[in-house]
Amino acid sequence: MLSRVAAHLYWMSRYLERAENMARILDVTQSLAMLDRSADSGGAMTPIVITEAQAEFAATNLPATYENVVAFLAWDRQHPSSIRNCIESTRENARAVRGSITSEMWENINDTWIAFQEKSRSINPLMTGNEFFEWVKERSHLFRGITFATARRDQPYHFVRLGTFIERADNTARILNVKYADEAPDSFEETEVDKETDYYRLSAVLRSVSALEAYRDTYRDVIDARRVAEIMIFDPKLPRSLRYCMDEATAVIDELPRASSRVTRRIVSEINAKLRYGTIDEVLDYGLKRYLADFLLDMVKLGNSVNAAYMETH
């Protein structure tokens, strides 16, 4: 397969996953805002912090209200990771390789893009609601389902999957990172009162990665911060955990042509080993924030290596 085609497929899939993750984050932000009427501007800024869009948002000179933040992250043309730009980039990448994906996959992405344009005419950005976020999630689910059901299990399929799991792991780590970034390790020893208020935030975090039911099934106990971190990092069966994503990435990379994959395989195996053989206690001893920062750097390293091995056209 052409290297350029591999790059388009990989980025097509990363952008679609990014659009879905953005919708998930905004959806949860919205339900928290409704819950916490006294939500100050700090809470509203959370999605901006998660997606590292502080500079871009500051450039708009808009007050950091919940409405402005949602409008910016969903619709802004200048922000490269807005849902709008993610969908446009997904479609542009797909259009560049429409011959390498099934017609069902292409028509689905093209349909999403056409419907998005209609929505962008009919929805007031400041009143973007849950219905829109659900729609974005569903379109992403639908594409994944169509891919699963129609694509041959050869290279194009593998690059689509690789993009999905690298982007998804990156997103899960960011969500966790923000939840705990400013808290000292001892905040895991919480008071009863903290637990009360934190319950909603923690369950929101779990919901943003579709892990609330999994948490209940696994622990059958109250939601606490340590277990939330544990399930999101180490659960081998949870589709959005770091462990699961890296298991998948390792398996996918194993399927790619061997000629140039040695370094990439080593990098992904090292990342995977840390997740397979690590424990939450070690992570907390080391410092969750440091651990997640390391992981995000690992994702950059892995992405660069994949690019160098398969996608460079010069």
Binding site: S3, A6, G99, N110
Partner: protein, 518 residues
């Protein structure tokens, strides 16, 4: 139930479907070679016999049928993303090419005439290209003045003496044909560089079969869906290598024909490459793949000559591949169409195609050329100057409607001014009578009304000449307009070539024919 009302064509039109009182009859003045083809009985109500089955269906369908199905078609085209790119404010927007729901129907006999004529014409043109880049026998024989070739900007001096496999210069040709109001077909232009539009031919058929399955059960419409298979076969036959690696070179997704490039590559199962995907090493061409470099043997390029290789042609081209031309000259890659074919579809060379057919094949031309006056000849010049108001006068190397005069549409002053320009440099001009393109009923805002059409069949030359029956019919959607280009409000129609048994003779005749054991 309300019937579909059809606006009749003006009497001076040749209409493909309808005959109005006083209109020219098909075949009335056919040349000998065409007369076997053109005959088709006209039914009493004025519908030509080969449209009878369609007309029966149309008259028995409720009036909203066409508008409903057209709405479905628009939706499908947009969903599948069959678009062409128009360059505008935001770097290019995508538009649909309107696809009309009423087919253009051609009889089996007429197609067989066209097919023979196209095969002959393309064969002669290939012989001509091989000749002018090698022996130049046609120049030595004095049939074409040497300066007409060597002074032509499309003549690639770098190609002189370069061996092209099997002497096939043009693998893919799109010949523009129109029918005049005398009922005869004329070749307007031979597109020998990178002709496009075949994907619309294929998509129109796919759409019509999806929207009007009942019509395809009523009569035999010859299939066109195997075009990509024929194209791949043609490209593979362009080399002697077994199981060659074939690629399609596109300028990229901002090119107006990008949909067609992706479509054909996918249908053929070959890689769609951009210049940046390829590199040349030791005069061999490779593509960059996830498994490392892979040799390329045949390239179907959808990029003009001058952009192919910045080292050999335009140095500022970023779309091509540095070193490609050297690899080509060494015979390490086949490029289709060959480099330098543009010289043969130039307006100044067009008038000589009938001469080429006689010179190389020793045959009489089957297809008509539009009579062309070459102002460099004194007799032609004086005729042109005397009859300018009835003629279309064109600059020989001009393109896109620049430097031309359409006599019947020009003022006396414009004619006078243009005459002065022609007199100053006669050899730079040719002139042709104005043709009246035939019309075909078309579903437009006002209902079903006649609109002018042309026809572009696609001719493939591998070890033999092949084509699918029909081609792309383009239609000028504005009333009275003769401009069929998609960039200027043109649309397309599905083009039906009928099977032998359905050639306008009706079911009884077809049955009789079968029972005779033919």
């Amino acid at each position: 139930m309300t019937m579909h009302a059809i606006t009749p064509p003006p009497a001076h039109h040749f209409d493909e479907m309808l005959v109005t009182a006083g209109a020219p009859e098909r075949g009335q003045s056919q040349s000998q070679s065409q007369s076997a083809g053109g005959q088709s009985q006209v039914q009493s109500q004025g519908t030509r016999a080969h449209y009878a089955a369609y007309n029966d269906w149309l008259q028995s369908s409720p009036e909203q049928t066409l508008s409903q199905r057209r709405a479905q078609a628009d939706l499908l085209f947009r969903r599948i993303g069959i678009t062409f790119t128009v360059y505008g404010d935001e770097g290019g927007t995508e538009r649909l090419i309107p696809s009309d729901v009423i087919p253009r129907i051609i009889t089996a006999d007429e197609w067989s005439y066209l097919e023979k004529g196209l095969t002959q014409r393309v064969t002669a043109i290939n012989r001509f290209l091989a000749d002018i880049y090698h022996d130049q026998a046609i120049l030595k024989a004095g049939l074409i003045p040497r300066e007409q070739i060597e002074g032509n900007a499309q003549f690639q001096t770098k190609m002189v003496g370069v061996k092209v496999p099997h002497d096939t210069y043009v693998s893919i040709t799109g010949v523009d044909i129109v029918r005049n109001n005398d009922g005869k077909y004329y070749v307007l232009e031979d597109n020998l560089r990178v002709p496009s539009g075949v994907s619309y031919m294929l998509m129109n058929r796919k759409m019509m079969m999806r929207l009007f399955p009942e019509l395809f059960l009523r009569q035999t419409v010859r299939p066109v869906e195997h075009y990509p298979a024929l194209l791949l076969q043609t490209l593979k036959e362009a080399t002697d290598i077994d199981n060659p690696t074939v690629v399609l070179l596109t300028p990229g997704r901002f090119n107006s024909a990008y949909f067609e490039h992706t479509f054909l590559a996918q249908q053929m199962g070959v890689e769609l490459v951009e210049g940046q995907d390829l590199f040349v090493k030791d005069d061999y061409v490779y593509m960059r793949t996830t498994s490392g470099p892979q040799r390329v043997d045949v390239m179907y390029r959808r990029l003009d000559d001058v952009f192919l290789d910045p080292l050999a042609f335009r140095p500022d081209s970023v779309l091509g591949v540095p070193g490609l031309f050297n690899a080509y000259v060494k015979g390490n890659i086949v490029i289709c169409n060959a480099i330098g074919t543009g010289v043969a579809d130039d307006k100044s060379i067009y008038p000589y195609v009938p001469d080429m057919i006689k010179f190389y094949l020793d045959e009489d031309p089957i297809l008509n050329n539009v009579p062309t006056y070459q102002c460099r000849k004194p007799a032609d010049l004086s005729y042109v100057l005397a009859n300018m108001k009835d003629l279309v006068v064109k600059e020989v190397h001009g393109a896109g409607g620049y430097g031309m005069l359409v006599g019947p549409a020009a003022t006396a002053k414009e004619v006078e001014d243009f005459a002065a320009v022609v007199k100053a440099n006669p050899s730079n001009y040719i002139a042709q009578p104005t043709l009246s393109l035939s019309s075909c009923p078309t579903f437009v805002e006002s209902g079903i009304a006649p609109r002018h059409i042309d026809l572009r069949p696609f001719v493939l030359t591998g070890r033999e000449v092949r084509m699918v029956p029909g081609g792309l019919t383009r239609v000028a959607l504005r009333e009275g307009s003769l401009v069929v280009n998609s960039s200027q409000g043109g649309g397309t129609k599905d083009t039906w070539v009928l099977g032998d048994a359905d050639d306008g003779r009706g079911d009884a005749a077809a049955l009789a024919k079968t029972s005779e054991g033919n």
